[in-house]
Symmetry: C2
Subunit: 203 residues, 2 copies
């Protein structure tokens, strides 16, 4: 009988490489909203970078004691499931409901590529983000909602008129921002009201 060579470290590295290669696909998932210069639609990888940066920039607008480094990590992984499940348009309730099951299956597959301990750790970050029960998750979600409102405000309404979104619907998203960060929520509300006043968002 031949001796079986077990190289667990090699296996770990190979699993990590497979995951690193797989997540490259997030660069091809296209979101509804546009870049702030209006030149093209945004992809989910660059969006994830942007909101990770926002966690560093707006950190002082999180509640005291918020672990901002955890927020950054959460935001980097928060949309990985879109590789399989695609981007969900947050103003379409049917799409939002159908998405949950698809995202769980995506999480099983994608985080499952990693060594068990790492897959568990990243999946927990994603689940924490989705559950919005910790200050970190609520702040991360606030930034995730803040970014497209800022972009739409700066691009004459951006996706709002395009998808016939109304101010009352955007204000529901602003409430999520307020729950994660009162000061960013107040700022977002002003942007929404200004967009309405300028005729870029229907009342």
């Amino acid at each position: 009988m031949s001796r079986v060579t077990i190289a667990p470290e090699e296996d770990r590295l190979n699993a990590q490489i497979a995951f690193a290669v797989e997540i490259d696909k997030l660069k091809r998932i296209i979101r509804r909203n546009h870049l702030i210069d209006g030149s093209r639609r945004e992809n989910t990888a660059e969006h994830s970078w942007h909101v990770g940066m926002l966690a560093m920039v707006f950190g002082e607008h999180a509640p005291p004691e918020t672990d901002l480094q955890r927020v950054v990590a959460m935001l980097l992984v928060h949309d990985l499931v879109e590789i399989d499940a695609g981007d969900t348009f947050i103003y379409d309730p049917v799409e939002v409901a159908a998405q949950a099951e698809a995202e769980r299956a995506a999480a099983d597959r994608i985080f499952g590529l990693l060594p068990d301990d790492q897959g568990k750790w990243m999946r927990e970050l994603w689940e924490e983000f989705e559950a919005r029960k910790t200050p970190e998750a609520r702040f991360a979600k606030a930034l995730d909602r803040f970014a497209p409102i800022l972009a739409n405000h700066l691009t004459e309404g951006g996706t709002w008129p395009l998808f016939k979104v109304k101010a009352s619907q955007v204000k529901e998203k602003v409430r999520l921002i307020q729950e994660g960060s009162p000061s960013l929520g107040a700022y977002a509300l002003r942007l929404v009201e200004l967009s309405v006043a300028r005729g870029h968002l229907a009342e």
Copy 2:
């Protein structure tokens, strides 16, 4: 005389917003290398997300005691100067030399948009990355060099044959990986040798 109303908190938030808007431009800076599926060239914002993720995935390949959260933060900001200075092709020595001054000017302007304390903090992260004197910076640089080698290896050489890059030049970059992470350096060297064996990289 009218009373001057000073609202320093408002000023801080406005500066943070201006920076958040400005950095959106990183999504339009196009790098030499392609996505792993070969479909298009990569932009610097999505690259920054990818290497930030790699810091989380390959953390155990950093020297013990490396502050991985600092590595993630460093990688998110490491290429912001490209908004003004553009991407540098690392295999062009003339381009690399001319770039240093342009990047310093870019850092002055871009980090200068932030409130002073935050601009200083982020600029220090960038300078630490560039200087490669800390384990965090050496590991961050290793990941920044590892990503395109992995992508090129997986795309029949990718930018290597396109820009007539030779194995000896790639091996100089592998040395930077080894300095930040011996195990990732060893892996990258195997990828390079495999690419040579397959005829995707000239000796």
